[in-house]
């Protein structure tokens, strides 16, 4: 998550790769909101399928890479579904229909439906997120937010620069833990590490702010090295995505 994903040339040239990140972002949000209106398992399951198929066909994401990204999250979705199936209150309700019985455990139809719907919803959300991440370069996302979304450049590029600095904090944390161990305190987690990390974060932020300031950041009007224009493909992606959402909800 923290290191930038290297998109292949095919991914960058694909329909989803060239579409405005803003359209993809808006679409992802629309799907999220739309899914909140249904308690059935069908619509999120369909949207999961659409997202993955679109990612492979229109985003040219290498299937293995998408699978590796999704596998741990799919496991999370499955365990959420399982927990809801087993610990549902309706299992204890004698009036609800029995679906299966494993020893003393009684599973009801209501519990199964809720579990399936929840699992499918989580799966849909993570699939959309994975396809978005696998077709969107962070720099391009910020460019689109500034140029098309009218997000202030000072905030957007500042946040991007901070995001690039996150891997350094990871290295700092490892060193802080090593320092504790070599001083005889054990490398286990300790609240003191947070203080060290916080001080480092402030130091990095200070240096970065100074460097950005020295390069005239925020000193006046600015131009852009990577112009992003609206294209007809953005309309295509937007309309297609909304249509998929509509079909999933109405069907």
């Amino acid at each position: 998550m923290l290191t930038p994903i290297d998109l292949t040339a095919a991914q960058e040239r694909s329909l989803l790769g060239r579409a405005s990140p803003l359209v993809k972002l808006a679409l992802a949000l629309a799907w999220l909101v739309g899914l909140a209106f249904t308690l059935r398992a069908g619509p999120p399951a369909l949207l999961t399928g659409v997202a993955i198929a679109a990612g492979l066909a229109f985003g040219r994401i290498p299937p293995g890479r998408l699978a590796r990204g999704l596998a741990p999250l799919a496991l999370v979705a499955a365990s959420i579904a399982l927990a809801n199936l087993v610990f549902s209150a309706s299992n204890a309700n004698p009036s609800s229909a029995e679906f299966a019985r494993i020893g003393p455990l009684r599973l009801t139809r209501e519990a199964a439906e809720v579990a399936a719907a929840l699992g499918a919803r989580v799966l849909a959300i993570v699939s959309v997120g994975a396809v978005f991440a696998q077709t969107t370069d962070p720099t391009r996302l910020v460019d689109a937010l500034v140029q098309q979304g009218r997000v202030p450049a000072r905030f957007a590029y500042g946040a991007l620069a901070a995001y690039q600095a996150v891997p350094r904090l990871g290295e700092d944390l490892a060193t802080l833990r090593h320092a504790r161990r070599i001083r005889g305190l054990g490398a286990a987690w300790h609240p003191r590490l947070l203080i060290g990390l916080l001080i480092r974060a402030i130091r990095h932020a200070d240096q970065l702010a100074l460097a950005m300031d020295a390069r005239a950041f925020g000193s006046g009007p600015r131009t852009t090295f990577r112009p992003i224009a609206w294209r007809w493909t953005d309309l295509l992606v937007g309309v297609g995505g909304l249509a998929a959402l509509g079909i999933a909800l109405i069907r």
Binding site: A179, R183, A214, A216, S219, T223
Partner: protein
């Protein structure tokens, strides 16, 4: 020009008076804490704008008063390069980073597209447009940062210890670029640099500051050297003559006698550290340490050299049991250090990290010294602190994070040595040190070796490797490619019974 930081009891810079002609190169030298960095930030207009403090006098770039001018106006004329390459790259990819300063100055797109590859090429990074800054070597990162600073054609280029984090090859490449900039005579350069051998030949004018930020001398290099050379050396300033002679400083020479007089010296002792076929990788299939065979005896002093990213720091952490090898075995005093309980490990090994700040665990200097130590070790650490010029009466209550860089380094030395470890590991011990800090470090190493402690230091500092160390291990791309030590590995070494 004078500047005092808010809350400081004396000015960081006092009474600086100089004039630099356009196209000239000014070298600023001085011991740690002499206000060199303050001067660079003042020229770049960042002080007093971004830093609270008391400012008096006048500092002009061309006809522009930096203290009162609009930030955009100063930034349009002055570019500044800092010492840490990683923290000044703003954008992900090289071309975007070079363009960042141009965008901020509202260059038209066509002009940017023409200038960016040009600036990259000038810095020796032609074709690097799409490369990610985070995946470049330290030397490449610094040249990329230089390309970004140079791209908008600043009239004045300010460089604040640009080679501090670079390996010798990276430093040389950066100075080759600076020589080209000087030859063009289009840009005025203000340079702060510890590497006297590289910097002095480039300078038209040298400004020497003392430890309190007061000018000692100002003039052409040859004059300054002749007039004030001795004074500069006394103040702890490196001189161009130091590097060529490669002689050990006096303090170190005396330590040397002490070392050879009392106790084991050049690795004749049993192997204290033993590495067999050690391999380590952070990411699968991408080893950073490859099949290393190594034996280090008690009282040996070893320099580990090699370019940025060659695996030096990882090797040190493997030796000290902070990382566990993926393949092979590490033995420290006969046991696997990665499996030792922390208290036992701390008795065996001390470690001084490249950035001392990451090694601090308490809120005060006194807390650092007592942390996890018994009374005897605390007493030893307290004495050590006094010798290092950080007496507890004065510094005990201070936060370790508020100390200067040199003071932080000395505190970390005291904490690492408090337990009398049998192995001391140093990561870039002389990084950014002035002459005095360097000599103190060399003297401590010599003394420890006299007591039988093995010292292993990863370093870019040729002088340290040549004069303080007695054995040189060279790494490249994770391999040990050269080792002039007596015991190149357990197989070749004469391991003693029971070792």
């Amino acid at each position: 020009m004078t500047f005092r930081y808010l809350g400081a009891d004396r000015p960081a810079l006092a009474g600086i008076d100089l004039r630099l002609d356009a196209g000239g190169v000014l070298l600023v030298v001085g011991p740690s804490g002499s206000g060199k960095s303050t001067l660079t930030r003042a020229i770049a207009g960042l002080i007093p704008r971004d830093v609270p403090g008391e400012w008096s006098g006048s500092l002009r770039v061309g006809d522009l008063e930096t203290a009162t001018a609009a930030p955009a106006e100063v930034a349009a004329r002055v570019g500044i390069l800092f010492q840490d390459p990683g923290s000044q790259l703003v954008m992900d990819r090289a071309a975007d980073d070079v363009a960042f300063g141009l965008e901020n100055r509202a260059w038209p797109l066509a002009a940017m597209r023409a200038r960016v590859p040009d600036a990259l090429g000038g810095a020796g990074l032609a074709g690097f447009e799409r490369r990610r800054g985070s995946r470049l070597s330290g030397g490449e990162q610094q040249r990329l940062a230089l390309a970004g600073v140079e791209a908008p054609w600043p009239a004045v280029l300010v460089l604040d210890e640009p080679t501090a984090n670079l390996d010798p090859a990276g430093a040389t490449a950066l100075f080759e670029r600076l020589a080209m900039i000087k030859a063009e005579r289009r840009t005025t350069v203000v340079l702060v640099e510890h590497r006297a051998d590289l910097a002095w030949p480039l300078a038209d004018l040298v400004l020497a500051l003392d430890a309190t930020g007061v000018p000692i001398d100002l003039g052409v290099p040859a004059d300054v050297l002749a007039r004030s050379g001795d004074r500069l050396a006394r103040e702890g300033i490196w001189l161009p003559t130091d590097a060529s002679s490669r002689a050990a400083p006096e303090t170190f020479a005396s330590g040397e006698t002490l070392a050879s007089g009392s106790g084991p010296t050049n690795g004749i002792g049993a192997d204290l550290v033993e590495l067999r076929q050690v391999r380590f990788e952070y990411a699968r299939g991408n080893p950073v340490v490859r099949d290393v065979e190594l034996g280090i005896g008690a009282g040996e002093r070893v320099a580990v050299v090699g370019p940025n990213g060659s695996g030096k720091s990882t090797l040190l952490r493997l030796i000290a049991g902070l990382l566990r090898p993926r393949l092979g075995s590490v033995r420290l005093d006969g046991r696997d250090p990665a499996r030792l309980p922390a208290t036992r490990l701390a008795e065996l090994a001390g470690y001084i990290f490249q950035d001392p700040e990451l090694g601090f665990l308490a809120d005060s200097v006194a807390g650092e010294i007592t942390l996890g130590l018994d009374a005897a070790s605390t007493a030893r650490a307290t004495t050590l602190l006094e010798r290092l010029g950080l007496p507890l009466e004065r510094f005990g209550g201070r936060s370790p994070y508020r100390l200067s860089g040199g003071e932080q380094r000395r505190l970390s030395v005291a904490t690492a040595l408090a337990r009398r470890p049998r192995l001391l590991v140093l990561d870039e011990p002389t990084f950014g040190q002035d002459r005095r800090g360097w000599e103190a470090m060399a003297a401590i190493v010599a003394e420890l070796v006299g007591e039988g402690t093995a010292v292993v230091a990863a370093t870019h500092d040729d002088r340290f490797a040549a004069t303080v160390a007695r054995r040189r291990i060279e790494m490249a791309d994770g391999w040990v490619v050269a080792d002039d030590g007596p015991n190149r590995g357990p197989a070749a070494s004469h391991r003693l019974v029971g070792a």
